[in-house]
Symmetry: C2
Subunit: 101 residues, 2 copies
Amino acid sequence: MIYEIAEIDVLEGHAEAFEAAVAEASAQFKAARGCHSMRLERSIEHPLRYRLVVGWATVEDHTVHFRESEGFRIWRALAGPHFASPPRVEHVTVVLSAFEQ
Amino acid sequence: MIYEIAEIDVLEGHAEAFEAAVAEASAQFKAARGCHSMRLERSIEHPLRYRLVVGWATVEDHTVHFRESEGFRIWRALAGPHFASPPRVEHVTVVLSAFEQ
């Protein structure tokens, strides 16, 4: 399992609409091959900056299978109009889960 | 509950020692006021880049109470020698937990 982290800056005044678009698009992720989880984080210091965090079985499930799918097209049609710039995308693995209490 | 995200670039050849230092320092976080969770993520595209993700009750539990504590001094003494540059720190809230399957 890996995580896609997409840092997304949205246009001024678009935060609410962007959050609604992500909620609407979540069904596309949920149905995608290898997709395990999805959450949206919002920066406290920079309120127009979000991080979309999506769990995938493999990097390719995101970069190949999802990006070539109709689900991706729907996601971008919903959320893209709110982007201030192209998302910055990176993939990570969890190397240490120290504790949760 | 908020999350601290610290992006940390480590020095070439220091990845293993850095991960061990984070594991050792985790006890300092676990004992800190308001600290709920801690994990370490490693970038797949940039293997010298890590994200330390720490759950806190409030931003101030991190930026005031922890940073002024002995635990912070110990954390920095353990992990600091492996940093290639100062960590980039941001705080986020989770605005949407769409699904987990």
